[in-house]
Symmetry: C2
DNA sequence: CACGTTGTTCGGCCATCGTAGAATGACGGG
DNA sequence: CCCGTCATTCTACGATGGCCGAACAACGTG
């Protein structure tokens, strides 16, 4: 399956690149799903895009050092690199996750129930 | 001079937009120059780009709600909207500024003195 | 070994972005 | 009143970026 994008060492992570990786709502949604630090199966990640697009988003996150990927046979598992991020950019991830929670980024489209049906 | 981009109310700021605004090294350099909260003259801001480009970058920062602009006659002054940012995205700005300081983003190109001259 | 599953890569499309130079508009000073 | 200063807008262009469907590659299983 080939993952030619190994995660960069903590000291090689660039702030602008990380912020850029986090500046997309689809990717923020993915990061939120990984927020508890637990490993998630690729196929269990939810995003409102085609799987090729999802793959690209995960590649972007990996490239910036935000996530890490482990392969096991034909399937792979994704993890948030919380310690590396906290070490290199103290407070950043928490601030972003809190704000993303507040905005409910990446949550179900939420059918509009504001107007009761007739 | 016309500033058709008034800063959004704190509650209208979008996380993804703010992160996007901060994901450019030129803009990060500008934000660093404003970090102390003091007002700065447009013309005193340093950036390695043409003035039209600088104007666009400041428009982007304004549009995201990161900065504010005050006009006085023909010149204008730029301020970091620290309180609005801290209120809406607690901890985010500090984390970004600390990391940007660490990477010395936007500082003088720094002639290479690692090898002493012959 | 043939096949289905899983994720990546490829090719292409369209939108946005960073950049610069030139034109424009708004003032203030001589 | 005319000119210089200051910042924005216009126009243009190459580079990215997000998106998708299709093709591909690696693996486990029947």
């Amino acid at each position: 399956m080939r993952h030619p994008t190994p995660p960069p060492a903590p000291e090689d992570m660039k702030l602008a690149e990380v912020l850029s990786a986090l500046s997309d709502s689809v990717r923020l949604g993915l990061v939120r799903q990984l927020a508890d630090g637990a490993e998630r199966k690729w196929g269990d990640l939810r995003a409102p895009v085609a799987k090729s697009t999802l793959s690209h988003h995960l590649k972007t996150l990996r490239g910036a050092g935000v996530t890490e990927t482990r392969e096991d046979g034909t399937r792979c598992f994704v993890t948030l690199r919380r310690t590396a991020l906290d070490q290199r950019f103290p407070g950043l991830l928490d601030a972003v996750l809190n704000a993303a929670d507040e905005e409910r980024i990446g949550e179900a489209p939420a059918l509009d129930r504001t107007a009761p049906r007739p």
